[in-house]
Amino acid sequence: MSMIHVTTNVNGDDVEFLCDPRETLLDVLRDKLALTGTKEGCGTGDCGACSVTVDDRLVCSCLMLGAEAEGKSVTTVEGIADGENLHPLQEKFIEYAALQCGICTPGILVATKALLEKNPDPTETQVRYWLAGNLCRCTGYDKIIRAVMDTAADMRKAS
């Protein structure tokens, strides 16, 4: 099986990798690039644990091939903080304890960051619909939604 050579950008860094054509972007991120913040939940686009942005568009990395990343710009949960300084969403998730086991958290952080960049003043309903594809099986949605609403309010004040 011939491998495909891919050149892409992940979290601001230019990277190259060789992948099997069947490997997903999720496989590549975790197994080739050692970026294990992105989680595999269902592997079929239902749970959102593998959410990343590709050219600023929120997608499931399990529903995209690694080969499709050629020439793209990918952002994962590892690209959200600025060095040691956490993103306001990350700070709020800690403050609100908006997680239990944490496996859905990277996907939810990536998804909500994408939402707040598109809509800095979402209603609670808009946040809930936006996150409909991010499943938390610890049933922690209430704290997640409150953390997102509070982050949005803080970020509006700061800007």
Binding site: S51, L58, V59, M64, A111, A114, L115, A132, N134
Partner: protein, 286 residues
């Protein structure tokens, strides 16, 4: 599995026409990759069409729209003019999957996946949309309703692919709408779907198309249902005939998501509700 990224539709056709084994085209991948991962369909040859120029473009064409094969649902929802002219088509596409799925899923993928419950397909058929099919013998125009032939089956021949969806000119006093029934508010497959597209002459309906999804092996264009409301002001009597015609057209499966009796009844209810929304939208566009 071989992975190809042709630079033109001619190259894509040539690859597909000469391919041996299972061939799949990749646009959004939200069905193809699920089937691949679940070992339902493992293509020998995967042809990614996204490197072809223009496939991500929504452009004006003869007063209507040309929507490229790789335009995502999110890109359609973010297009204000498309949304204004064909709100039913845009809302139907927008109902598919999550925000993440919307970032990749396409109209053409939804059509070619061949699901009788595909949300965007009734809306496209109601709108009178057609697709351009490119193949070894050239390009042909095909109405959307002629593409699905059964669950998971299409009329496309070996080497053929769709390169765009074409929506007709909206024209004056027109409106469309799509509704589906699911047992929850988001992230589910239609138990019944219904799209209505109509045009008004004064307060009377002069043209209509009524289309049902998930109640037969293919999406159904129901002419009797359209006839029930053409010439009417969508009064109560016309709505009752519409509902009866929609229910009469149903030939659904019986499964855990909906019984035959339930789907047949809901088809009539949704037809009435979708017709009312389309009628309001057509009136508002005067």
């Amino acid at each position: 599995m071989q992975y190809h990224t042709p630079g033109s539709f001619d190259d894509a056709v040539e690859l597909a026409a000469n391919a041996e084994g299972i061939t799949r085209f990749l646009a959004g991948g939200t069905d193809v990759l699920v089937q691949l991962r679940a070992d339902i369909v493992t293509p020998d040859i995967l042809i990614d069409v996204k490197k072809i120029a223009g496939v991500r473009d929504i452009t004006r064409e003869d007063g209507g729209w040309r929507i490229g094969v790789a335009v995502s649902g999110a890109e359609m929802s973010e297009h204000p003019l498309l949304q204004k002219e064909w709100p039913g088509v845009v809302e139907a596409m927008d109902l598919i999957g999550s925000t993440q799925v919307q970032g990749r899923a396409t109209l053409v993928g939804n059509l070619c996946n061949g699901s009788p419950a595909a949300d965007s397909v009734p809306a496209m058929i109601a709108a009178g949309a057609w697709v351009s099919v490119i193949g070894p013998d050239g390009t042909r125009k095909v109405p959307v309703e002629d593409i699905p032939t059964g669950p998971g089956q299409t009329s496309l021949a070996k080497g053929e692919l769709i390169n765009a969806v074409h929506l007709p000119e909206r024209g004056a006093n027109g409106g469309d709408a799509y509704l589906r029934f699911i047992p929850r508010t988001e992230m589910d497959i239609a138990v019944v779907g219904c799209a209505v597209n109509l045009r008004l002459d004064g307060d009377k309906i002069s043209e209509a198309r009524v289309v049902l999804g998930a109640v037969a092996p293919t999406v159904l264009l129901v002419e009797d249902a359209a006839a029930a409301i053409i010439g009417s002001t969508l009064d109560e009597a016309a709505l009752e005939i519409l509902a009866a015609a929609a229910s009469a057209a149903c030939n659904p499966i019986d499964d855990k998501r909906g019984t035959i009796k339930f789907r047949t009844h809901v088809a009539g209810v949704l037809a009435k509700r979708a017709a009312k929304i389309a009628y309001e939208r057509a009136g508002a566009s005067v």
